[in-house]
Symmetry: none
DNA sequence: CATGAATGAGAATTCATTCAT
DNA sequence: TATGAATGAATTCTCATTCAT
């Protein structure tokens, strides 16, 4: 079943993004040459320019289209019903950690490129807002002790993020336990 | 009073490192050309090679000689006497934060260069060990509640580090308060 | 009424030549890419190669088919009957000037491309021969004073050509007057 | 006698301009690659960029520094004393012709590059003014018949220029004779 | 007839590095 | 010690051209 022209183009574009992500993660954005990117996609450098106006445009497309902010948002805004806060937090941070792990390449690109660090900050900010909301609700419900929810949210996400960023595993259960010790 | 040869050489070397640090922080290691580095030191490119074997060697020298690990170590191993743990922790994290702020350029270089990220991890690991030791002592002394000191140490430093890394200010008092709430 | 295949092909070919002429005049032959040429004809680059073997072939076709040598020849060989030489010359040079003006794009291409300058020289040579013939006849008829007709012909055409080439207007009446002053 | 650094640099710059002039004349500005230019100077392409910011800058330097307008001006403004006008004109046009011949390469560059055609027009305009002045003086002195001096000046220079431009030799004596026939 | 994906060669330019002075 | 001319390799990007669809 031959691909149609349009399908082929779409597929090629994705393939180029995939290849670029891998190469960028490995060598850094500056360290990766267009030739490298093309080779990784088994393609001529020239072809890259049919799909992206420049190397920079390719980076931007990557950041825009492969960003995991949507997925993160989805994760954090899910309805947690009546499940215990500690359990929800644990699962949530684990999901966050997994999200970062699954997108390790992209995270590496984010860290390695100055122009994208802003993106990371934005990500953190939004995450803090959402987690903060959850904590506030549970404090109001009397389930969690009153505390500085903004700082708590920032703390939880920061620890996961920084450690993932350095490739160090985090024990999420211990982290939650530290901030919200089991009563009793 | 003319400088001796040796002094002059030493001075020039430092000057080159200073200039390089500034330029690297501004443009990134890859983004800065040897010409840029030389210009920033008001020197010709050729001279750089009398002091460093290559651009890469210059980066390494920077990382090695301008690293703040020694300063950090000093900070964390100071004798804290009998002062309250919460106060000690607050001052310690503030000093850590200030250390990062004062070395913002270097931190930027660390973040921006793949080859140096390992250095950051090492820094964190050592920091965690030292802070962990302090926490352990105070738990043993009955001043702090029993808790997962390793996770706590990692958490405290991570939050400060990640936020500094993104240029976001951290309220250290709140952070300490979150983990070790004032009794009563 | 659908065009026949042949008509359509012919039409497309002309359209491509038209577009090419415009683009070449604007950007120069080297400055115009095949993509530019195709875009100007609202067509894809590939199609160009169905009609012309190469960009170079397109240039040649343009020079050959859009050349105004035939028109010039026609102009100069017309029977001028018994009309006064000065009047004939004036009209003739004006027609020549107009011819160049109408084909400004083509002239621009001629001037801009080394390989075509020979074409211009040929044009001039033929023109000189024809005008020279006319002058000779009128000298023989006693209407014009005896003079160096070859030089005169060359002069008349050169002045018109060079000024048109630079976009400077020429007053043909004055030019004729200069060489063949009104008697009395 | 070793050249000083400064002399060497100056010499190299001239050499690069010389080489560029030759290559540009032969292949046209667009047709000549930086590699070609460097090769013609027996030098690496990179070196060109120590002396000129870009290929375009090199072209401009060539046009600016190798222009023959100064020489032309000198030629045309010389004091011609009491020598016969026809003789002065002949010598002057011959000198002009020789000037163009000597700078054939530069003329070729002028013709071949759109951005420099304006330069040619300027050259012609100034030339016409100066020659026109001479003619006016001699008409006033009663040496030459009254005539349209502006057109005459334009004509004389145009014929020389256009023919040189096409590589066709001009017989200057005949040209002067045509416009200012020997009396009696 | 017409498209547009793909290529390969080559363009201009930058850069780390060397070395004679 | 310090300079800066020179190199050669690499970089980003463009372009004429081909060809399967």
């Amino acid at each position: 079943m031959a691909r149609t022209r349009k399908e082929q183009a779409e597929w090629r574009r994705e393939q180029l993004l995939d290849a670029a992500l891998t190469v960028f993660a490995a060598k850094g954005v500056d360290g990766a040459s267009v030739k490298d990117l093309a080779a990784a996609a088994a393609v001529t450098p020239g072809l890259l320019y049919r799909y992206f106006d420049s190397k920079e445009a390719l980076v931007q497309a990557l950041l825009a289209e492969r960003g995991f902010l949507p997925r993160l948002r989805e994760l954090l805004t899910a309805d947690h019903g009546a499940r215990p806060a500690r359990q929800v937090l644990t699962e949530l941070l684990e999901a966050f950690d997994r999200l970062l792990a699954d997108n390790a390449d992209l995270v590496a690109v984010f860290f390695g490129t100055t122009r994208a660090r802003a993106g990371l900050a934005e990500l953190m900010a939004e995450g803090q807002g959402l987690v903060g909301g959850f904590l506030t609700a549970r404090v109001a419900a009397g389930e969690l002790r009153p505390h500085d929810v903004a700082t708590a949210a920032k703390t939880l996400l920061s620890v996961v993020a920084v450690n993932r960023g350095m490739g160090i595993p985090v024990d999420v259960v211990r982290l939650v336990d530290l901030l919200f010790p089991e009563e009793g």
